[in-house]
């Protein structure tokens, strides 16, 4: 069973606009969530995380929101830049990953 789900395989946005990537989970016992960014032919790199006791964490252009009642988290990138074009994975504290969302930011 897939406990961490990213239902949107791809997202395309214009440079300067907001990118919103979504992730759903099924296990309410997860106590930490992470977002990773992956460029082609490279390993994933850590982007931002959030503890389950918080509902928001911000780091520069990146903000992660957690809605525990809905078992949903989202990553907001504002403003989006062409260099943000990559695959984004959400992951839970048991080290399980979603399928990823490919973000394309158009100049």
């Amino acid at each position: 069973d897939q406990q961490v789900k990213q239902n949107s395989p791809s997202l395309s946005v214009q440079e300067g606009r907001i990118s919103i990537l979504n992730c759903d989970y099924t296990n309410s016992m997860f106590d930490y969530f992470l977002w990773y960014k992956k460029y082609p032919a490279e390993g994933p790199t850590f982007l931002i995380s959030i503890s389950s006791i918080k509902d928001k964490n911000e780091d520069g252009r990146f903000t992660v929101f957690l809605n525990k009642s809905a078992k949903h988290l989202s990553l907001h990138i504002v403003p989006s830049q062409p260099g943000d074009s990559a695959v984004y994975f959400c992951a839970a504290s048991d080290m399980r990953f979603g399928a990823g969302t490919r973000l394309t930011v158009k100049p």
Binding site: Y32, A41, G43, A99
Partner: protein, 113 residues
Amino acid sequence: NAGVTQTPKFRILKIGQSMTLQCTQDMNHNYMYWYRQDPGMGLKLIYYSVGAGITDKGEVPNGYNVSRSTTEDFPLRLELAAPSQTSVYFCASRRSEGSYEQYFGPGTRLTVT
């Protein structure tokens, strides 16, 4: 500080052959992981280790074996390779409980024909 290194970068195996994917980290991390990523899919956990001498199965362990004799090294062994094992393999490490951020290697692209 090289982080997590993986060798080889690419490999083609014939069905039934065996090989070992090497993974080394120089950050003195206790936790190490092996994942596979199939096209269009997320990372699936194969095996993990919480310290030297301790390993455990992940989501998709069948057809693989691991060992952890040192803190630095966590090799993944494929016995009797099958086409279903064609994938990109990533090794990762992290410090300890309470620190969930993983550091990934660059991956090994394996094709079994």
